[in-house]
Subunit: 211 residues, 2 copies
DNA sequence: GTCTATATATGGATAGAC
DNA sequence: GTCTATCCATATATAGAC
């Protein structure tokens, strides 16, 4: 949405290439020379568009967030029943996270990052909305469930699901990876039943199955 | 503890320091100088114990895995009902992942890593056992649930839960972080009910089960 | 086994030509 | 706006003294 046609093409090309490279190797795993080479310019050209590597990196993260903003908005739409919103969130995010692996990995790297300032940027601009929406939805569906644990469970489940694909293949060699929408439906059902099952028994002093 | 007293103390000290540093900043974010400085020796001393940085890194990952082997074995014990095993897995892993944040972050970095060889090492020595155990347990509890989706959901939920702590704090400022055992109980209930709720869908007669 | 000293490569960043 | 050329800090790794 915020793409201004007046702004140089090279700037956008740099950002697009940077998303891939930083997603693949992380901030310190990519040099300005790597980026310049991938774009097909000299390192000096990068410094015309960005004052330093740190700034280029932050702009890269913003760029990756921006290009998924529409999808994110759709997944967070507030119409429908809480159950519908819950499933829409999971489907929307699984698709988003599946379709843009560079975005997914960049977000995962940012979460691992210890730079407080950059983490603040990511959490404020990306994850906070999702988290608060989930808290709201979950509280409506099942007030007695710990909404924080549930929200975190949903976010981690969608955000990291596809990173486990290699394990699936190793455990059952000729397993064909299901379509993302199929995964979303299974995941949504599991988590939705998890919510409702807990709601069934509100007072849990001995909350586990009898042994 | 599998620490062999015959092996040099410095080697172990290097590995211990390396776990922290690599967990914090990743492979390319840590230099041999950084490690040497943290240990209190010169870089040359590192090269007496390890041929190069790559090898030191791989040994560091092994070291971090080894020091948690006992806990992992306990969490994977095969006695008890499937439901008991399921809860034991979640409790054991949440505790392990909570108590050794360096191990947790190192594993997360390895999962993000694109080096196929190193990923194979991690998946074979650490994650495969967990994954296969979960597939087995889940199939016993709820044969009609997609066991792969469920196993991946459980692993991602425990492995990444604590990385979302900053978000929790941002969303509700004075929220006190609950004890790991409390988190494990909530998470276990949600996921166990998710399993059973889905199972109820097909064969609707067992609301109360085994002894 | 650990140090000093150093070879050699690669990193971020800038000046000035065009 | 992009390039050539280069500065300078930092990186991995090794040789040889002790």
């Amino acid at each position: 949405m915020s793409i201004n046609p007046n702004i140089s093409n090279l700037r956008h090309e740099i950002l697009g290439v940077s998303v891939s490279l930083f997603a693949e190797a992380g901030y310190s795993g990519v040099s300005m020379r790597d980026i310049a080479k991938s774009v097909g310019v000299t390192p000096a050209a990068l410094y015309y568009h960005f004052p330093d590597k740190q700034t280029l990196y932050v702009e890269t993260v913003r760029f990756a967030l921006d290009r998924n903003e529409n999808q994110i908005e759709k997944a967070l739409a507030t119409d429908g029943t809480p159950e519908e919103r819950f499933m829409r969130f999971i489907k929307g995010y699984i698709l988003l996270i599946h379709d843009d692996p560079d975005f997914r990995r960049l977000v995962q790297r940012e979460i691992l990052d210890t730079n407080a300032e950059r983490q603040e940027l990511l959490f404020q601009t990306a994850l906070k909305k999702e988290y608060c929406s989930l808290i709201e939805i979950v509280s409506q569906i099942a007030p007695s469930v710990n909404a924080h644990v549930m929200a975190v469970t949903v976010i981690t489940s969608v955000l990291y699901h596809f990173e486990m694909a290699p394990i699936k293949r190793m455990a059952s060699a000729q397993l064909e990876e299901p379509l993302p929408i199929t995964i979303a439906e299974h995941l949504g059902q599991i988590l939705l039943y998890g919510l409702k099952g807990n709601e069934g028994q509100n007072t849990n002093e001995n909350s586990q199955t009898e042994t």
